[in-house]
């Protein structure tokens, strides 16, 4: 019964995605039809002469060909060569995406472990928790990305420094979730362990960590999205020639000569973000299904 309704829900979500995509295209091209640049097709098809001209009734800068290229141009941009006689843009962007993904993955691993270790440390000392948790929270109100130029210059480490920025954005949700998850077990479970005379280490392994797994995974989903964002943004001031952030800057610079290339880069950024989070969800499903009651994601 439950699985049937879950399947139905999945189908609905898939349908919603398709509808969303269609709506997006309709709004996009509709805006161009009403507010865009005039166009004219002059030629012949099967010997019949064709002459269609469209002059939009209104005009807005946002819908001009420069600001909002036609949807199909964004997709053909993936196949078209990025430069004269170069390889297709799609292939180049895929390479850049892999580069960014490596940074995000490293940052995710670093930040995730740091977050978990910090959570484990803080959960064992009330005083430390009181002293440091406000800073863990405050650390996220710091626009880390303002520091990113400094970090990049300081570490002189290229992609690794970007990974550090990514890690900074990643550790926070994991720490908060770990603090919650490591305490989530039933109070009686702790009493039970105490009655066995179990060491703090044993309590950690047998009770705290297992009970925190659903919480951790929920936070890892949030962290994965943050890792990708951190990696892309970290690349902006890094001055390294690779990565999606660098591509964004690059195609932004040459925007007037090919706006669809910037749009294609944005599409690739979204794919990486969705893909990475999807990967985390998949591993969560593989590792925890039928073992844990699902926990509501802690934060969006």
């Amino acid at each position: 019964m439950g699985s049937a309704s879950a399947a139905l829900r999945r189908r609905r979500v898939a349908l919603a995605w398709i509808l969303l995509a269609v709506a997006l295209v309709v709004v996009w091209e509709g805006a161009k039809w009403l507010f865009g640049d005039p166009w004219r097709i002059h030629g012949s098809l099967l010997g019949l002469p064709i002459d269609i001209e469209h002059i939009p009734p209104f005009h807005s800068r946002i819908a001009s060909d420069l600001s909002l290229p036609h949807v199909w141009l964004v997709f053909t941009a993936f196949v078209d060569p990025a430069q004269r006689q170069g390889s297709p843009l799609g292939l180049i962007l895929a390479g850049q995406a892999l580069f960014t993904l490596r940074e995000a993955l490293t940052g995710f691993a670093l930040g995730g472990s740091l977050g978990l270790l910090l959570g484990i440390g803080l959960v064992h000392s009330r005083l430390a928790e009181r002293a440091f948790v406000p800073y863990v929270v405050a650390s996220q109100t710091v626009p880390i990305l303002a520091i990113s130029p400094l970090i990049v210059v300081a570490t002189k480490a290229g992609w690794l420094s970007v990974a550090i920025i990514s890690a900074y954005l990643t550790f926070f949700p994991v720490t908060i979730a770990a603090l919650r998850g490591l305490r989530a077990a039933d109070a009686r479970a702790f009493e039970l362990m105490r009655s066995y005379g179990a060491s703090a280490w044993a309590v950690l392994w047998k009770v705290r960590l297992p009970s925190s797994v659903p919480y951790l995974f929920a936070s890892l989903r949030v962290a994965a999205a943050a890792a990708v964002i951190g990696a892309i943004i970290g690349e902006l001031p890094a001055g390294i020639p690779d990565g999606l952030g660098a591509s964004l800057l690059n195609y932004n610079q040459y925007y007037t000569s090919g706006p669809e290339r910037l749009w294609a880069t944005i599409v690739m950024c979204s794919i990486v973000g969705l893909g990475f989070v999807g990967l985390v969800r998949l591993s969560e499903w593989l590792l925890t299904r039928n073992r844990y009651r699902p926990v509501e994601a802690l934060a969006a």
Binding site: P149, L150, L262, F276
Partner: protein, 262 residues
């Protein structure tokens, strides 16, 4: 007396950490004669802050406006969308996963496009980015808060034959407030990040994002740090405002609950 002691117990440890870090930083750099350009001593940063204050003040107002206006739009639209979505089960079940997925898209990538739309002079590019970034968490959490209601409370209202509007006002909305404020805290931190990073792609010289990049590029690290600290204070200030609003609106909330609200 005891409440005073309990309050001081809450802010004393972090304060001690703060003072200790500042003093240790200053003293150790002085004593070890660290000639670091990259991380100047606190006093050096404060001197730079004083010297650059006119520019920095303009930057705070400029970037702060972007963050706050964008935040207002994102939160308002997210709340409205959440209220609309929560009403229909089908919409809820399809749009919430969609919203969650959308919030994993690096919206900051749109920053250059928005600059091409609205121009370099305008604040609209950052406002748009901030509004987009804050929209999804607010929407998703609003829906969650409106729907994660004790079924018995709904039955109770049914036993009073209360109309849907009354259930919304008396049960669902109060129930959603903690979720909404959690989203607000997330949104507040995102708003400053969005505004500063959006400026990396273009903006006036005094805007915080451009200022930090420029000063770093010309190796004026104390200036860069001063601007960074201003950006931090902006973020922390907005966060504290959100926390204060939460306290005022939900006086019934237990301290323990609000601490676990993240």
């Amino acid at each position: 007396m005891s409440t005073l002691r309990r309050r001081s117990a809450a802010w004393l440890p972090p304060l001690v950490v703060f003072v200790a870090v500042i003093v240790l930083w200053e003293v150790s750099f002085l004593a070890l004669e660290v000639k670091s350009f990259l991380i100047p001593r606190p006093t050096v940063i404060f001197t730079a802050l004083g010297a650059e204050w006119p520019t920095l003040a303009r930057g705070i107002v400029y970037t702060g406006t972007e963050a706050i206006v964008g935040l207002a739009f994102g939160v308002a639209l997210g709340t409205i969308a959440g209220l609309a979505t929560a009403r229909w089960a089908t919409a809820r079940q399809t749009l919430v996963p969609l919203g969650t997925a959308m919030s994993t898209i690096p919206i900051i990538a749109f920053a250059p496009i928005t600059i091409n739309w609205f121009g370099f002079e305008s604040q609209l590019p950052r406002i748009t980015i901030v509004a987009l970034m804050t929209f999804f968490p607010v929407m998703v959490n609003t829906v969650r808060g409106l729907t994660n209601v004790d079924p018995a409370a709904i039955e109770l209202m049914a036993s009073y034959a209360a109309p849907d509007g009354t259930v919304l006002r008396k049960v669902r909305i109060p129930n959603a407030l903690p979720y909404w404020f959690t989203a607000l805290r997330i949104a507040v931190t995102l708003s400053v990040i969005g505004a500063v990073v959006g400026e990396f792609f273009g903006g006036p010289l005094y805007s915080l994002g451009i200022y930090v990049t420029n000063q770093t590029g010309s190796f004026k690290y104390p200036n860069a740090w001063a601007a960074i600290i201003m950006a931090c204070l902006l973020g922390i200030g907005l966060y504290l405002l959100a926390a204060l609003a939460e306290r005022i609106v939900m006086p019934w909330q237990r301290r323990a609950d609000s601490a676990a609200g993240e």
